[in-house]
Amino acid sequence: MRISLTVNGVKRVADVKPNERLLDVLRYRLGIKSVRAGCLVGDCGICTVIVDGKLVKSCLMLATEANGSNIVTVEGLSTNMRPSPVQRAFVESFGYQCGYCTPAFVLTAHWITENMVNASDEEVARVLNSVVCRCTGYKQIVDSVKLALKWRREGGER
């Protein structure tokens, strides 16, 4: 079955089998390497992508279900090799250790800054809850998101 997706603003077409997941297609057919496989049962959130403005775990979505949708991955956040404010906040606050979960957290943080600028710490935590960091560096990740939100509220990049 032929599906067409808009991935980070670029129209992509792929021939997929019905049993292929969105994760499989993005990573192995379209070469989007920030989308990673973790638990594959929806627990860890490492495969998170934004589908039509919603955070989705791509290991639990069939590629065919995503036909016609607009997908954003971490590759779509930077412009001309310049990191987005959210990415810079992660660097600034050391919101990463081994880096495996980082794309998922950055993408989740991006969604938070786009959709819930005035969120309380508790609300932020409820969203971040969906992604697991096995290095357990959550403190720095939460700090990064808070910094990104602060920049956002104070008007754009530092």
Binding site: P18, L40, G42, T48, V56, L62, E65, N129, S130
Partner: protein, 287 residues
């Protein structure tokens, strides 16, 4: 690596009907050979565990099944493919059907609720169906449709002993109906992991003769609604005494299961503690 990942779901044909008639015709044609996919958060895992279907029918193409509609005086109608996030963000669900809202936001996580649907939560036979107990205390009924027509029954009548719904192979859960509740009704859901979920609803608290107090339990995957509780709370005694009476009655009338996740004794403890906590909170009784 890629090979392993790509072969983890068995082969199937993907069907995406765009109208209810088309959907029901496909389900009638393929019956148990076809699985219905809404959010897919459970189905994909089941297929990885070895469940095989020749066809996977996507019901999200049938737009009307994703709607959530509230009508003053008539209540709430929820399409089976409405996502849990839609329910969480719905002001009527939050304000008028608090027990359901409270349960929904404790299911899965933020990302998963963008996909997971209420119909899937009711129908899926493996995990704790956290929406069933709240729907039971709310007095909800469900609409089940097939080519033969649709029927509307109390949700409780279709819940299977081990979880899941008693549906014929050609039937699909299409809508959930929740009646309008008395003004000022309150509800809450108490959940401990996949061990126990307790739904409680209270309305007309100040008037014993019209007082409504209902509780239902979910012990993944079995569900229990305790019918006699409402009668206990119709008595003219202090609420604190009635809560004690109700808990004693509940303890004798349900038998939680024992399994790998928790022993029966521990679940009995949770029932006693959680029920007391919820009823005190909803009825405004100090410890």
């Amino acid at each position: 690596m890629s090979l392993i990942l790509r072969t983890t779901l068995p082969d199937f044909d993907y069907l995406s009907p765009s109208s209810l008639d088309e959907l029901l015709a496909l389900k009638a044609k393929y019956g148990e050979r076809a699985a219905v996919i809404a959010g897919g958060t459970v189905l994909l895992n089941l297929m990885r565990l070895g469940f095989r279907y020749d066809y996977v029918i996507d019901i999200k193409g049938v737009r009307e099944l994703s709607a959530i509609e509230y009508r003053e005086g008539r209540g709430l109608v929820i399409g089976a493919a409405a996502t849990l996030k839609d329910l969480e963000n719905n002001e009527f669900v939050r304000e008028k059907y608090g027990v359901l809202w409270d349960a929904v936001r404790q299911i899965g996580d933020f990302h998963l609720r963008n996909r997971a649907t209420i119909g899937g939560n009711i129908c899926n036979p493996t995990l704790q169906a956290d929406t069933i107990a709240p729907l039971a205390v709310l007095g909800a009924s469900i609409e089940v449709s097939s080519m033969r027509g649709s029927r509307r029954v109390a949700i409780w009548e279709l819940v299977k002993e081990g979880g899941g719904l008693l549906l014929d192979p050609d039937e699909i859960l299409t809508r959930i109906y929740i009646p309008e509740l008395p003004k000022g009704s309150r509800g809450a859901y108490f959940k401990v992991w996949w061990i126990a979920g307790i739904a409680a609803l209270a309305a007309n608290i100040d008037n014993p003769r019209e007082r409504i107090v209902r509780v239902a339990y979910s012990f993944a995957p079995s569900q229990e609604l305790v019918e006699g509780v409402e009668k206990i709370f119709r008595q003219e005694k202090p609420l604190k005494v009635l809560i004690g009476d109700a808990i004693n009655y509940i303890k004798t009338s349900i038998t939680p299961p024992s399994d790998a996740r928790a022993s029966r004794e521990y679940r009995e403890h949770l029932v006693e503690f959680g029920t007391a906590y919820l009823l005190r909170k909803l009825l405004g009784v100090e410890v």
